[in-house]
């Protein structure tokens, strides 16, 4: 399959890339990892006049923590970089859990987190992770830079708020005020498939380790169980201001399942998906509290669940 014809530019700086977009055709697309855009172009779901390839722009392939702990992920940081990141393993449990579950290993060596956020697929895994963590996207255009919270960045399936001459240059995860814990679990029929159900949980606790401290911030977001990524805000609220207990976990899992809007399809029934939301929230929080199942599928519901032991 061939994409439609398009003009191709490969600028060597961000300024040049933005100028190319500004002066470009009616329909321009930015190409980073290309693992969503190129397939869409081959299927002719996307037929841009102009493709601006930013792979030759230096200095965008980073992920790093500011001195205060704020995490910054550049537009050319690949999923594989995050999968292998010691920084994430040490300080970002939810992201470290999600990184090995994005698509498949070969797609991960090319695709990018920022590109995934821009692509805004309702079944994308990173959007849930970044939503649970309260992250943002930094966009740069001719009028300068602006930071857009992820909740306001995605406006619908495959739609975001970027102006035609803006480039998403960075994703930002705010610094934790307490100890981070949490995780990401994904039910998929096979590696590389979209999530049947994905659940991201991001906790911050103070006054002790995750299993004993008070939860000061909680974020829970759901993949694949609605027309968009769903923030389970009631579920998260049920956790904050107290230590994790069996009761608060059960309450949060039930509220998250209520927040899901699954549809019956070839990946499973709505009831099944809702049940899996409850299971995944319970499992992630159980592990964070130190009381839950430690190993893969140890609670007997792990079949088909993708996760990778550290």
């Amino acid at each position: 399959m061939y994409p439609s014809r398009f003009r191709y530019e490969a600028p060597r700086s961000l300024d040049e890339a933005i100028a190319t977009l500004r002066d470009g055709g009616d329909y321009a697309k930015v190409l980073a990892g290309g693992q969503s855009l190129v397939p869409l172009m081959k299927l002719r779901f996307a037929s841009p006049d102009l493709v601006v390839d930013i792979n030759n722009v230096p200095g965008l392939d980073y992920h790093r923590a500011d001195p205060d702990g704020t995490l910054r992920v550049g537009a050319l940081c690949r999923h594989a970089d995050l999968e292998r990141s010691a920084l994430l393993k040490a300080s970002q449990p939810t992201m470290a859990a999600a990184a090995p579950l994005i698509a498949d290993p070969i797609v991960r060596s090319r695709g990018t987190l920022v590109g995934s956020l821009c692509h805004a697929d309702p079944q994308g895994d990173w959007a849930s992770v970044v939503l649970a963590l309260g992250g943002s996207v930094v966009a740069q255009g001719p009028r300068g830079r602006r930071t857009i919270p992820i909740a306001g960045f995605v406006t619908g399936p495959f739609e975001n708020v970027l102006e035609p001459d803006e480039i998403a240059v960075e994703a930002v995860i705010p610094a934790a005020t307490g100890t981070r814990s949490g995780g990401y679990l994904k039910l998929e029929r096979r590696v590389g498939d979209f999530a049947t159900v994905g659940v991201a949980v991001a906790l911050e606790t103070s006054g002790g380790p995750a299993e004993a401290g008070t939860v000061t911030r909680a974020g829970i977001a759901l993949t694949g169980v609605g027309g968009s990524t769903i923030a389970a805000t009631d579920a998260a609220r049920a956790l904050t201001g107290q230590p994790l207990t069996a009761q608060s976990i059960e309450m949060a899992a039930g509220l998250a399942a209520q927040a899901a809007q699954p549809r019956t399809d070839h990946r499973g029934s709505a009831d099944y998906k809702r049940h899996m939301v409850r299971t995944f929230v319970t499992r992630i929080l159980g592990r964070a509290s130190g009381a839950g199942a430690g190993g893969t599928g140890a609670d007997g519901t792990g079949e088909g669940t993708a996760e990778r032991a550290a």
């Binding site: 399959m1 061939y2 994409p3 439609s4 014809r5 398009f6 003009r7 191709y8 490969a10 190409l31 290309g34 693992q35 190129v38 397939p39 172009m41 081959k42 299927l43 493709v51 390839d53 792979n55 030759n56 594989a80 090995p100 698509a103 498949d104 290993p105 070969i106 797609v107 060596s109 090319r110 590696v191 590389g192 990778r308």
Partner: protein, 207 residues
């Protein structure tokens, strides 16, 4: 070397220029003129005649078209040829030397890692990326690394064995020097010095 493409009859007047790219493939420097929409897989197969890279699904699923770009595995049906400008590409044709199979190729032969063979080039290139990064993988590491490559014949069992065979052999080969490699099943695996090869281990040239 110049690469010549079909001139699609309706290209005239589209105002979309072909682009000249320079790249290295299997150690050889090349120049090509490509339409921006040409896929890397098509440049490799049609432009360069390297048909070892297979097109399977054409939808980023199956991994048969996997090549290495600057050492990292890429599904070449999902990268534009024009993006190869300035890059170094490795395909399955670059594995063997004129006289010797690559240990991965030997491993697939020894452990019956292929049946129809269609997925094999992609499997080998994905495996090469793994072994370049992790010379001593566990079985789980291999399965994980190959999880983006589909095989409809083997059930994967022997593919995994093949890659582990190759890993053993590659680790047994002295980093440099003229000592011959030890066979993978030799008890000399690990910290003991390499044993001389058996005839079987050196006999992997023709299948």
């Amino acid at each position: 070397m110049t690469v010549v493409y079909e001139d699609h009859e309706d290209d005239a007047g589209t105002g979309i220029p072909v682009r000249r790219i320079r790249f290295t493939i299997n150690g050889q420097k090349k120049i090509a003129e490509v339409e921006p929409r040409l896929l890397l897989a098509h440049l490799i197969r049609r432009g360069l005649g390297l048909t070892g890279t297979h097109m399977g699904c054409d939808t980023t699923n199956c991994g048969a078209c996997t090549v290495l770009v600057d050492g990292r595995p890429v599904k070449s049906c999902t990268m534009l040829a024009v993006q190869a400008d300035g890059r170094e590409i490795s395909t399955v044709e670059g594995l063997a030397t004129a006289s010797e199979l690559h240990p991965l190729q030997e491993g697939f032969k020894e452990e019956h890692g292929l049946q129809c063979g269609f997925c094999t080039p992609g499997m080998m290139m994905a495996a090469k990326a793994l072994l370049d990064e992790n010379p001593d993988p566990t079985e789980e590491d291999v399965r994980w690394a190959l999880s983006g490559n589909l095989c409809r014949c083997t059930g994967y069992q022997n593919i995994v064995k093949s890659v582990l065979w190759a890993a053993d052999k590659l680790r047994a080969v002295p980093a440099r020097g003229d000592d011959p490699p030890e066979p993978p099943d030799s008890p000399a695996r690990g910290d003991t010095p390499a044993a001389p090869p058996t005839s079987q281990a050196n006999n992997g040239q023709e299948g």
